[in-house]
Each structure stands twice: as C-alpha cells, then as structure tokens.
Symmetry: C2
Subunit: 467 residues, 2 copies
C-alpha cells in the first residue's frame, strides 16, 4: 500500500539516499532537515509515517518524537527512529519517547521496507478510527480522549517459546515491569489458548527448526477473536527472512536476539499503549452510538429506541400468542416540582423514579422514558393481572419513600399508571399505547396515585364501520 | 496479512494443489467440494476470501456466488471465480453474479497471491465497517441497509490514458453503460484534477514507457481526498509485473488488454457497487451518531448537546467580551394539549413550534429542545434588547397562526419566554439559565403569552457572603 513518508535528517545526503529508495518503491516522500520544520510538516501534511534521525543539532529526534506523540492529532502517526549506531540506550530512549520502531544505519533495505509496510498497515487501521473520532467531533461530541488509561497499568502477556530457559528469562523481565505473564512452552493449541484468554500482547519466540511460530502468528491474525492482539516476534539475526515474513503476516513488531532487557520492556509497552489507545477509540465510539438510544437523564431507553422496537415487540408477542402487557406511567403534578423546587430537583426526581421502576421490572422487559415525566414498560409474556400488580408495586415504592433532593431536603411524589394487555394479535403498538393512555387518564381523573386497567381492545370490524 | 481462505472445487486434486500453495504462504485454508457445503462453511466460518470454481455438478459457482452476495451477513466477503478456460462469457457471468474477481486456470502464482493480498486488504477495511454495523445492531439500532442505492445509478468515471484513441474507446463503452465519463490524456496534474472532482472510479491506463501510471496510482492512494477512490488499472499482458506492483500499491482491480467491452463494464460496476456499499455503511454510522445529539421529534439539538456545549459557548462569550443572550421558551398549558387532543397532536405542536423558532434565529445561534415543551436558544454576540425582540417575534409567530393537526383540525397555542443577558464574564451557564428561568416564571405568573427580561446578574462577592 502506498503512503506518504516524512524523512527527517540533518544530513542532506542521508535524506537523498533514503528518499530515492522510498520513491523507487512508489512512496510519496516529504523531507525535513531539522526538528522544527519536521513538526511543522507533520502537523500540516499528516504523513503516514515519520523516519526520524536521532542526532540532529538543535531539537534532537527524541524531542521531535515526544512532541508528535504528545499531540492528540498526531499521536497515531508511526515514528521510526533511525540511529547511526546500534546504541541500545538510544533505542530505549526512543521507545520511551513514544517511537514505534527503530532502525539502524546503514539501513537494510528488505527490513526497512518490511517495517514500513507493517507500520503503514497499522496506521491505516488507526486512520479509520481517527476518522470516526473526527466525525464525532464534527457532529458536536465532546471528544477529549482520556489518555491516562492508555499509559501505565499492568498488561496481560502470553509468551510462547519452546525453550523453558528462554521463556523463563522473558517472563522474569516482563514481570519485573509489572505485567502478568503466562508462558506456553508448546505451539500446539497455543492459538486456542490465546483466543480463550485474550492477553494484551503475545510474544512469540522463533525456535531453530520448523515453521510453528509463523503458523501460530498467521493463525492468530486470521481468526476473529485474536485478530487485533499485538504480536511481538523474537528471532535470531540469521532468522531475518522469517522475521520479515512475520511482519508481512501481520506481526506488529520483532526483536533480534540476544534480547536486551530494556528493549523488550520498551517494545512491549509500545504495543500495550497502541492496543489500549485503539480500544479507547472504540469504546468512545460505542458510547457515543449508545447515547442515541439512551435517555441521558435516567439511563433508560429513550423514545427513539422505543419507537423503533415497540412495533416488533408487540408483533412478536401477538404472533407468538404469549401475550404482552404495557404500562404507561406519569408522575403526578410534576410541573409543580419543577416550578417550585427548580429543574435540578425535577431531574433528580426523574432519576430516582427511573431507578425504582427499573428495580421492579425484569431484564427482558423494555423500560423507556417516553417523554418529560412519562415512562413506558413493555412486558412480554405477562397477563394484565401481573402487570397491574407490578405497576402498583412501583407506585407504592414511589409514593412511600421520599426522594432526597440535591439541596439536602426531601420530596414525596406520586405517580399514576395505566396498564393495557395485548389480546387480539392484530392490535398495533400505537393502539395499545392509546388504550394504556386512556387508562392513565382515568387514573388521573380519579384522583391520581393509582393504577387503572385499560378496557379490552375492540377490533374495528366491518359492522363497526357500517354503523 | 494472513487470512482464512475457502477453496471450493469439485476436483479434489485442484483443491489440494491450491491449498498447498496457499498454506505455504501461511494462509489458513478451508476447503469444500460442492456448492451447498461451501455456503454452509461461508456462513459458519466467515472466511476472508472465497476461491470458487465455476464448473461444479449440482449448484455451480455462479449460484454459490449469487447466494453469498445476496446475504447481508456475507455480501462483503470477496469471491474470486476460478475458470478452467479463459472464457469471456464466464467472466462476465461471474462478475454479474457479484464476483469480485476472476482468475484463470492454470493459476499464475504471482498474480494469484497479488490478487489475494489486495482482496484481503479490502476485506479488512470492510470488516471494520461491518463490525460497526454489528455494534449498532447490538445497541438496538434498526440496521437494515437499503441496498437499492448500491446497485444501479450512473457513476462518475475518470479515465486517464495518454492515447486518445484508446481513451475514446473506453469512454464510449462506459458511456453506453450509463456512466458520466471524463477523459484525461495526461498524467500531469491528473491526481490534482481527480482530487478536485472526486469520481466513483478512476481507470488508469498503463502506457508503454515510464512509470507515470503507477506514480499516479500511488499518489491517489497516499493522499487524503482520493484514498478511498477505486482504481482500475489497464495494462498489457507483458506488463504483468507492473500490474502486480499496482495491486501492491493499492489499486483495486486490473484488466489486461485487449480490453473486452463486457468485462470492463462489469469490473467498473463491481467497483462502483463496492464503493457505494462502503459509503452507505459510513453514512448509516454517521446518522446513528448524530441521533445521539439530536432531538428525534423536532430535529433540534437535544439537551445532551446543549449540556456539553453551553458551558463552552458561555465561556467564549464571556472571555471574548462580545456578550451573549439566552432565551428560555415554554409552551403555555401544553399538558392540556396532550390530555385533550392526544399525544400525536402534542407532538405535532412541538414540531411546528420548533420550525417557527428555527426560522427566526440565526445559523450561529444554538437552538435546542431542553425538555418536554421547553426550548433554549443561546445567541452569541447579542444584546438583550435584540434577544427580547427575537423572542417576541417567535412568540407572535406561534400565537398568530393556528397549528394544523394530523386529524385536519387546527389548534392555537401560546408560549412564554424569559431572556437573560450575560454581562459579568464570571457567570456560568447554569446561573444564566437560572436567571432566564426566573424571568420565564414571571412571564407565566403575569398571564402567559409574553416575554420577560431577566434581572441582571449580581456577583456573589465576599460582602454578600458576610451579610
């Protein structure tokens, strides 16, 4: 997949060589010779990847990386640090500055392209999530990702390694960094085990023979539950072609033996951070979606949800012959509560009533806030006597216990309700609501704080039409 | 990227050969020897790709393909038809049955793997969208994609070809299929032109020298506005390595010259269908998200939107010193409307009042339904005299013209309003609402159908605290 790549290096010659390599592979190349220019280009052009030299006069690569990763707008752009020497301290500093990967000069072309492809692929997945985030923002959601959950916290790590000595070593290192580590010493059933106990990161160690490690990586990537789990591959320097194959299969990162303790710690942290960031974007998105069907004040379903589901619920009950009862609840004199005690008090009353209501209906009943101070509960498989009893219990629970208000005072409210039963399979949701509404009106009319049963449904036959 | 691939062929030997090839590339392989088994596996295992033999006894490949594409659950799984002969009729039949691509036996391995990689990549993008769709469904949205827009309709196509004869030929073919075709005879500025006038499909013709066509494809893929535009590459059989490079760069499909008229028509249709399907998923998703911040009945912003934005609006107005007025509107005796004329009438009244309100405020005012029959309008940069005049105009518009009800009758309603002006920069949104609410209460108290100005804000100084 093509991509835009920003090369940052103070040495013009280095930039030229790298740019030529990437251009020959049809990448779109941008260049910068110092940190401030790089940051400016990142912010303006939003490239898919940054190849960043560590040693630059003025602002060094670590600082550039830190700033890219600090901004919520650019944090998802992968940064690869390019070091002149295989300096382990530089690597770890870079990973701690938030770099996604490391390459050592002179660059090995095959490895360079394999890493670039892998990071660009990852970026594309994130792009879709950031696009959603932008959509949410444009629509008016308050999108302010809380990054505290992304950092820190112990992660669950599964290490798969046929050598017990090696795996114990890795386990020790990762446990010292606070992770919960499980070791599997066989590749057999490893995929199944991992799917059954989804970790935050899988570390797969290549052994000296056989293609089991790559098969495992491939299986984790191709099966649904493990598709998103970050995989870190460990191999020998002579294993390079297999490491590259691994990156092509969708492995997220790889480390060459001898494994440096700080490096593997930093790389595992990078994977955990990336996974949690993605999970956070996903959960924000689900939360925003669910708001569309939830009443913000009470947490009950909202009218929109009810309107798109009640027809189906009523129809299923009618077709199945299991019956259904519907309860329509309205708080008594609620307007007075708002006018006398203010909106904050009114809101609290609605919240408390909703809670008492929820506590008295079953999980498969559908409870929704229908309007201002009106609630509806649809109760499948429930005869009217039961529905009446439930409604009356809710009425008692509301009337009996005063509601504590935000200002410390208390308020007693009452409610009226109408209950109607679906008997004729042909009755629609709207007709059922109408009957419950009439019963509710009677309850109000008869003095409030009571439940009234609706008259049975009368089918509009041709005779009725004639009269 | 690894993936699960289902191979369907009645010849056990063919399945074996293909399975061995794919397994050696670490793909996860499933197999079936007849149509019904294939459909059963597709439905149960949801593979990433189906390689489907055309000629099978019983249910043939076309029928299997049609059924996979007909089900909303499996329609996004790419299907590649494998034909024994280079039979053009089979290709076209297959593409018409909804196949995503075609390969001819004996399979050329390089081309096979390039196509498979490209289709798997496309599938992954769709996976994310289908996952969103599933999330929506789980949350309770009514997800019933309307596929009519996905099929049919003329598409915008841009053809880039340095040869006028060739491009005129392609233009003719595509215009006869009902598309709007634009021809560009130069690759220079083509990317810019395409980005400025986004088509549904870009057809890029490779010429005999230079890498301009692939550079163009790469640029379209790496730049934001054109990233999702389907690209169809046309090349000579000897160009195979370039066609494969194109697929790697993110081109969606390629055709080998001589271009068969029906084949290019079918392939363009396939790309258009895929693009529209993706757009449909995206627009459903945006619609669902926007519901979370919109009042379903009136289309105004809802209380949730107001609560997450009003603080910011008030703070910006205070900090900027431009002032702001807030209008709180409440319909008079609305409860009676519901009780006397029914909920449908009440809803219609709210809708009509919201419309009259919207018509009398400016685009940068924020109008929201605050509760049952209450509305709020925040008017930045507006002194209270103007806000009062606007509120009074809305009041007149509501009271003057009777509201037509669903049953054909008419109803006249009135409203009361309180307006408050932000003067002290320290005042919060809640305090501002409270003052408007008090003014509204006065309007009600003084006989309704009127607008009242709120008392100015008095800062709680230490003196006040002392008294």
């Amino acid at each position: 997949m093509s991509a835009r790549i920003l090369i940052v290096d103070d040495l013009a010659a280095s930039v030229k060589v790298l740019a030529a390599k990437l251009t020959s592979e049809y990448y779109d190349v941008l260049t910068a010779h110092d940190g401030p220019t790089a940051l400016e280009i990142v912010s303006r052009e939003m490239p898919d990847l940054v190849l960043l030299d560590v040693m630059m006069p003025g602002m060094d690569g670590f600082e550039v990386c830190r700033r890219i990763k600090k901004s919520a707008r650019t944090a998802h752009i992968p940064v690869v640090m390019v070091t002149a020497l295989n300096d382990m301290r530089d690597r770890v500093n870079g990973l701690q500055a938030g770099a996604d990967d490391f390459l050592t000069k002179p660059l090995n072309d095959t490895m360079l392209f394999a890493r670039v492809r892998s990071l660009v692929r990852m970026k594309r997945t994130f792009d879709q999530w950031s696009q959603h985030q932008q959509t949410s923002r444009d629509l008016g959601f308050d999108v302010d990702p809380d990054m505290t959950d992304v950092h820190g916290r112990a992660a669950g790590v599964i290490v798969v390694d046929s050598s017990e000595i090696q795996s114990d070593n890795i386990r020790g290192v990762l446990e010292r960094d606070g992770h919960n580590v499980t070791v599997l010493n066989s590749y057999i059933d490893a995929a199944q085990h991992i799917a059954g106990d989804l970790p935050d990161v899988v570390v797969v160690s290549m052994d000296f023979e056989g293609d089991e490690p790559l098969r495992l990586a491939s299986r984790l990537r191709s099966q649904e539950p493990t598709r998103q789990v970050p995989i870190l591959l460990i191999g020998d320097a002579e294993d390079e072609s297999n490491l590259i194959k691994g990156l092509e299969l969708g492995v997220n990162d790889c480390v060459v033996r001898p494994v440096d303790e700080q490096e593997i710690v930093a790389r595992v942290r990078t994977q955990v951070r990336r996974k949690r960031y993605q999970e956070m974007l996903q959960s924000n998105f689900e939360q925003h979606l669910s708001m569309a069907l939830t009443d913000g004040l009470t947490g009950l379903h909202n009218r929109r949800y009810l309107e798109s589901h009640l027809d189906g619920i009523v129809k299923r009950a009618g077709d199945g012959g299991h019956g259904l009862s519907l309860m329509l609840i309205d708080l008594d004199h609620f307007k007075r509560v708002n006018d006398t005690y203010g909106h904050a008090a009114g809101d609290e009353v609605l919240r408390v009533v909703a809670k008492r209501l929820l506590r008295n209906v079953r999980g498969f009943d559908t409870a929704a806030r229908f309007g201002g101070e009106e609630f509806i509960v649809a109760m499948p498989d429930t005869p009217i006597d039961i529905a009446f009893a439930v409604a009356d219990r809710i009425r008692t629970k509301v009337a009996e216990e005063p509601i504590p208000l935000p200002d410390g005072s208390q308020l007693t409210v009452t409610m009226s309700a109408g209950v109607a039963e679906l008997v004729e399979p042909g009755e629609t949701a709207a007709e059922l609501i109408e009957r419950a509404d009439k019963a509710l009106y009677m309850a109000k009319h008869d003095g409030r704080d009571r439940v009234v049963r609706a008259d049975p449904f009368v089918k509009k036959t041709s005779e009725t039409a004639v009269e």
